[in-house]
């Protein structure tokens, strides 16, 4: 009897393929300044002092810290976050940069090498034109490209630490206004200890001529990364912003608790894309990043638009709900998501669309893919305030199961406060089909490639929303992260 005549064989190939290696698991050997583990008011003061912050920001941090002490970690997510010992984490780690060459803006060769290896070249002349990068390693931004060129247009793109120094009024005006430190447990923690992240300001009437992107890299062990990003698009402005992230392979879990705040003024538009590829842990569920993130945008202006696109393949645990508060009349919120979980990963992700403005509209397209023993949940809220008449929401929520041992769950909440608004919700759950795989096999396509094709086809609607530069990478990432898992 022939081996490949057994039905189990297909399964087996897929399972083997599912153990694909995480490509970004290396560690950079660089001297890093790490403050001792533990968290108290002195640590908060120390972080603030290290960054040379003004008094008002220290106050903000301390208020957040004191509030955090009164909170408990949320347990409502369909994820199992073990009890985290917050005293066993170091809250600040900065790679010590050796200066290469004379120029003060030269970057440490070791760091440059790291980002080269990640496919994020930091030399402007070598880059494909059309994308500026802020590279963040552990707690600090190591380089922001194209700053000067963007400044000519009045666009501010720098690390948030620099923004605090150079544009204190702007930062103070917006920081914590979309996600207040009282918002939730991890938001309070982030507000107390946040280190670096990006700051973007697009002035009135400016269409940002290039994609802005931040690349987050965790390198140091036993540290947490608490980045903070603030994006403001003033009236009639437009920006497309991309975020990517990776981390080394380690047996212990690491915490990543970020906040992203976005403000969109009249007729302005922000497109925010994420390709999240934090280390997911090994095939037995050991190690990996806890990705516990609060992302929210305020469409404050009339006819403003915010579009979230995310491709989530990494992290041991993902808990994030990029949301839109649609305050302006005729404002538009969008959420396009592909969340792929494999092995023992858990993801609880979705969005909130809060309609406060009249005739505001929102679209939600969520594609969950569960393989191995993973759990994948969509959690969403569509809320239409009584006075927000004439609103529309369309939600499509699909789940694709690639194994018998994985789970797909949906937790939608819909609250409609008036009778002139229309809300639609569609949901499907499907399994990858053996017939589809065999059809591909018969045409000469291996099971591994077939699963990649099928899953990318399933996720196409979302992938098509990604900027070109990211789309190809994201497609490869889907195939690699999943490679297999039909059962």
């Amino acid at each position: 009897m022939k081996e490949n005549e057994k039905p189990e064989k297909g399964k087996q190939i897929i399972e083997e393929a599912a153990q694909a290696e995480y490509k970004y698991g290396f560690v950079t050997d660089i001297e890093t300044e790490v403050i001792p583990k533990g968290l108290d008011e002195d640590v908060v003061r120390r972080i603030s002092a290290l960054k040379g912050e003004p008094e008002w920001l220290l106050e903000f941090r301390l208020k957040a810290y004191r509030h955090w002490l009164t909170l408990k970690a949320p347990t409502w997510g369909h994820v199992h976050v073990p009890e985290i010992d917050f005293q066993d984490i170091s809250y600040y780690a900065a790679p010590r940069q050796k200066k290469a060459g004379e120029g003060p803006k030269e970057i440490d060769p070791e760091l440059k090498k790291t980002f080269d290896k990640l496919g994020i070249p930091l030399e402007e002349q070598l880059r494909l034109s059309g994308m500026a990068v802020d590279a963040v390693m552990d707690s600090v931004s190591v380089k922001t490209t194209y700053r000067e060129r963007l400044a000519e247009l009045g666009v501010i793109f720098c690390s948030i630490s620099e923004a605090v120094k150079d544009y204190p009024d702007l930062v103070r005006k917006y920081l914590g206004k979309v996600v207040p430190y009282t918002d939730n447990f991890y938001a309070a923690l982030n507000s107390a200890v946040f280190s670096d992240g990006s700051f973007v300001y697009i002035p009135k009437g400016v269409r940002c001529p290039m994609e802005l992107s931040t690349y987050f890299r965790i390198n140091a062990a036993q540290t947490g990364q608490f980045e903070r990003t603030l994006i403001v698009a003033d009236d009639d402005a437009y920006v497309s912003y991309l975020e990517g992230c990776t981390a080394p392979m380690r047996d212990e879990n690491q915490l990543h608790a970020a906040i992203v705040e976005i403000v969109v003024e009249d007729r302005a538009e922000v497109k925010y894309s994420t390709v999240q590829n934090w280390y997911p842990g090994d095939k037995d569920g050991k190690g990996g990043i806890y990705n516990l993130v609060t992302k929210r945008g305020l469409c404050r202006g009339d006819h403003s638009k915010l579009s979230w696109t995310q491709v989530e393949t990494g992290s041991a645990i993902t808990w994030k709900y990029p949301s839109c508060v649609l305050m302006g009349d005729h404002s538009v919120g969008e959420f396009y998501s592909v969340a792929l979980t494999n092995n023992w990963q858990e993801a609880d992700t979705g969005t909130k669309m809060i309609h406060l403005g009249k005739n505001s509209t929102s679209t939600i397209v969520s594609k969950g893919i569960s393989a191995g023993h993973s759990q994948n949940s969509y959690r969403g809220m569509v809320k239409i305030a009584p006075k927000a008449t004439g609103c529309r929401n369309f939600t499509q929520c699909d789940s694709l199961l690639l194994s018998d041992t994985s789970g797909a769950h949906t937790f939608p909440v819909i609250e409609v406060g008036n009778d002139t608004s229309i809300v639609e919700h569609e949901a499907t759950t499907s399994k990858i089909n053996e017939d589809q795989i065999f059809y591909c096999n018969q045409r000469g396509i291996s099971t591994e490639d077939a699963v990649g094709l099928i899953v990318n086809g399933y996720a196409k609607e979302v992938m098509a929303k990604l900027p070109m530069e990211f789309a190809v990478e994201a497609q490869k990432l889907l195939s690699v992260s999943l490679e297999g898992s039909v059962g």
């Binding site: 490949n4 005549e5 096999n441 000469g444 396509i445 094709l453 086809g457 609607e461």
Partner: protein, 252 residues
């Protein structure tokens, strides 16, 4: 090119093929006919390596190679093609992307460089014409929203693209109106050469009016119980299968 000896196969412990013997040479067209449930589709599934079936005995040689030892994709690379009775839909995967992947995998198997985008699209255009497949269909997702006839034409289009040595057409005529049948058959005839061969699995003589077989075999209860020239198909059309069934059943 193909030598099947005493091939036996089962699905979920149910024995379907009970000893098939068949030899196919380049340039030949073989028709396999038979009543429902006789094992015709099982034979095509087993030859192409569908993992739902288990081979329980016998051997298959394809150009001297042990076909059964090859993975389904390697069988395809070696030149075996199945036109599916029920082509599956693969939502979101464009025909262009699908075909390009398939073709380049085959090239890789033979150590060739992938085809350039321009050459590939040119080839698509050429081969599309053979089955009068619309450009729009070729840029849509694999079989998604295709009519029955379009799906079958799409199968023959893929056959044209992959240039197999042995094509198995599994009930390619089912669900086709007469115009679609003509297009499909003329596509198959265009692709026919002295170096390739075709196995046509069908219930009806109708398709064989267009694709002329050199041999006709009757499959019944997992065995080939009768083989003859094209005249057998006409006889079956007229008399049905009952006389063969009776003949076989009385011998047992």
């Amino acid at each position: 090119m193909l030598v099947i000896k005493d091939l036996q196969a089962s699905i979920e412990d149910k024995q379907i093929l009970k000893g098939i013997n068949l030899t196919v040479k380049p340039g030949e067209v073989h028709a396999i006919m038979g009543p429902n449930g006789s094992g015709k589709s099982t034979l095509s599934a087993v030859l192409t390596g569908n993992p739902a079936y288990t081979v329980t005995g016998g051997s298959v040689e394809f150009y001297g190679k042990d076909l059964l030892a090859l993975s389904p994709e390697d069988r395809a690379h070696e030149g075996l093609f199945l036109s599916f009775q029920y082509p599956v839909e693969i939502p979101g995967v464009s025909m262009v992307n699908f075909m390009r992947t398939a073709l380049n995998e085959k090239r890789k198997y033979f150590g060739q460089e992938p085809l350039s985008a321009a050459d590939f699209l040119k080839l698509m255009r050429e081969k599309r014409a053979i089955v009068q497949l619309d450009n729009k269909l070729a840029s849509r997702a694999v079989n998604e929203g295709f009519s029955g006839g379009e799906k079958k034409r799409n199968e023959i289009f893929q056959m044209a693209m992959l240039e197999p040595k042995l094509s198995i057409l599994d009930e390619t005529d089912s669900g086709l109106d007469i115009d679609a049948l003509r297009i499909v058959a003329s596509g198959v005839n265009t692709l026919k050469s002295k170096d390739n061969a075709t196995i046509v699995i069908t219930h009806y003589q109708r398709l064989l009016d267009y694709i002329k077989p050199d041999f006709v075999h009757v499959l019944y209860k997992g065995r080939i119980v009768m083989s003859a020239g094209p005249e057998l198909a006409l006889e079956l059309e007229e008399k049905g299968y009952d006389w063969i069934k009776e003949q076989v059943d009385s011998q047992q």
